[in-house]
Point group: C2
Chain length 480, copies 2
Amino acid sequence: MTETIENAGRRTPLYESVANRISYLVEEGTFRPGEKIPSIRSLSHQFGVSINTIKQAYAYLEDRRVVEARPQSGYFVCARLPEVPVAPQVSKREISPTEVSLGDLSQMILRDTMNPDLLQLGISAPAMDMLPIEKLNRMISSELRRKPEQSMEYAVPPGNKRLRTQVAKRMLLAGCTLRPDEIVTTTGCMEAVFLALKVLCRPGDTVAVESPTFFNFLQLIESLGLKALEIPTSPADGISLEALEYALGQNRISACLVVSNFSNPLGSIMPDARKQEMVELLERHDVPLIEDDIHGDIAFANERPLVARSYDKEGNVLLCSSFSKTVAPGYRVGWIAPGRYQKEIEALKMAVTVASASPTQMAVGQFLANGGYERHLRKLRRESATRVARMSEAIGVYFPEGTKVTRPRGGFCLWVEMPAAVDSLKLYAEAVDSGITIAPGPIFSATGKFSNCIRLNAALWSEKIEHAIKTLGELASRQV
Amino acid sequence: MTETIENAGRRTPLYESVANRISYLVEEGTFRPGEKIPSIRSLSHQFGVSINTIKQAYAYLEDRRVVEARPQSGYFVCARLPEVPVAPQVSKREISPTEVSLGDLSQMILRDTMNPDLLQLGISAPAMDMLPIEKLNRMISSELRRKPEQSMEYAVPPGNKRLRTQVAKRMLLAGCTLRPDEIVTTTGCMEAVFLALKVLCRPGDTVAVESPTFFNFLQLIESLGLKALEIPTSPADGISLEALEYALGQNRISACLVVSNFSNPLGSIMPDARKQEMVELLERHDVPLIEDDIHGDIAFANERPLVARSYDKEGNVLLCSSFSKTVAPGYRVGWIAPGRYQKEIEALKMAVTVASASPTQMAVGQFLANGGYERHLRKLRRESATRVARMSEAIGVYFPEGTKVTRPRGGFCLWVEMPAAVDSLKLYAEAVDSGITIAPGPIFSATGKFSNCIRLNAALWSEKIEHAIKTLGELASRQV
């Protein structure tokens, strides 16, 4: 039974009244955006109402985006954020394959990326203080002591068995039933995607990608001599299936490359029903899906989302991932579950790199097996959610009026759409002069779209970074 | 002054007389093939002649292949070995590009390679007991403690700087003056060769290779959609420059892929003058050379040989190598010095795997820097020379009459040419039934040559392996 109170002749539910009082405290600044608010128990005591009423009030406020629940942490005031960018509106005429030539742009980014004097807001990598450095390094040492010969041997395809077994177990959480021998370990997720594209496509072939899409995918497509077909993608629910279906009808497409959970750069997540629809659509057109799930484990919610692969009945989805965003970028431990292309992927992996490094595969396998990974994820998810909220808030404060920013529910990429007048390449150059890198919008497109957008790495959030966001905001404001 | 003695009216130099006495001891079995013979000092004492005379006698016997000097170890009785195979005689008509399709053959080998129950004489890898396992594993642990953050970071191209600096220093011994930033680290030597081929060739292009050539090269050529042009190669001095020159005149060749030092499978080494001639020839035809020097550090002599790259003035040689044969196959630490293709190689490496694993690069860099690598090499060279001699000898004992075997002066591949009637694929199947893998000749050719040849890994030599060689010899003999 919901308690009610009489208020100006209208019977208002008690929880709504409580919610309004909390809203008021937020509005007048008692609770700042991003701040933790008192626990259900203490608020129940404070307001003299039942725990159930407080729970209802929080649910009410959550629906209205006043507060948000964070796993293991309680309730926080939502940041007052800029608007969310809308999905790009694209006419059907524009949905056609394009040669990819990022050329000088990618060289420039590569060069700046290696400069240790720059603040690397343009790289999508976890912050060092979020990673289990000491645990991992202890693990690698103890594994090498325990299995010295294994560390020296080629982990020939399909790769380190313990790691594959652990990955198979974990993927149950993502809705997949995989046997360890249906997984091939790789040198990071990029090698997994490379192997998939190389096996599925011949030079000149067309790959359907999200738009915007991770620029390393475009570089890979370019270096394999393929064409990219950019499908409009929404920051909310991912690639447009309507546009994809249209494109499939008009073009010979050899593969579709999608990040269905917390895409890079948009952070979009496809609802499960849309994942299923996508898998069935591609299956009908006999087009294999390369699914990159590299951010899947960094869901801000308690549970990690399903993968599109979980709806695949025909082995048509090549699922790729790695531990580069969650455990250790430098370990280069990734994997692919290649579906019906297992044999070809194993042979190509053997031909191209023979095997990936054994010691790092052993360490990550052990980290998964002893439960360390799951414990680490809980912290990583909480911390990522907080940093994404903080950086979004700072963008709201410092960037020019009219700036929009995405609301990812996992990962740590933020996609910032500035007013149309802002040229992100000009901003890039000025930012580098100020000691900061950003990822300018046009590198996420083969057709030079997104000139007024940038991607930022929220994982690096700190006081120091707030200052960098302020600098970027000022530089952008000058262009308006 | 050389001492002489009167012998049947002829004045024979004293050293020759001493040499003949040693020869006699070898012939009648006092010193067995492969055995160490007494030191110069002790023999001088024993025979009552000067140290100088003993030295002259040893030089005389060395010229006649009765004894051989091994670095740091003294003199050993040469194994009484089967004859050396001659370079394949090939008519000019046969020198033309071929599509590569190893297909099922390579799948079969891959599958058997992963079977831990088989004795892997077919894999070219160092034996575990020759590797500095404990040292390396200690090194990786201490490096991770010293530089925890570096171990977690992407070692983006060109890769770990310390390792590159150490490689640059070492390559002085091979005649190359390289700056650290002219080197890009890779996931083993195979990735280096892959990057080189991918940057230099478009699908359908032709690559000139040695014949026989390392089968992983052929798999790579196949997976990149390239054609192989097989150039006859001599077990003694490597690729035929005459045939190469002819081929260059007749075909559009996009790259030439050569192992100039201790090639796989022949173990041939090109004399320096021929290396220079090859570099100049390819330069004149504007064809880049991909040089694989993976075995260069495992020279049985005191000094490592020069690389062809040392004669390159135009950046036309892409030098590839790794520490997989010398330090740790499973560490996957390789590198490429891409000459004038530096920029393209870095960009492709970034697109395909982003970076190679950091911890293993750090460990190998430290192993080189603290002198451990050089000390390890001395043992590795001695031991490899001994095992190659022992296995060659066993092949002479157990294989059918008319079997020929190469005399590598580095590395640990032995190429065995059996009588024409022996079918190495049949032998392969029978050997696997007996628990042994071999590398059958046809996988070293895109045109199915070498049906009566096999490659064996002499690094694994031990008493147990002698038994396997006996088994192989018996299986082969049944086919004659």
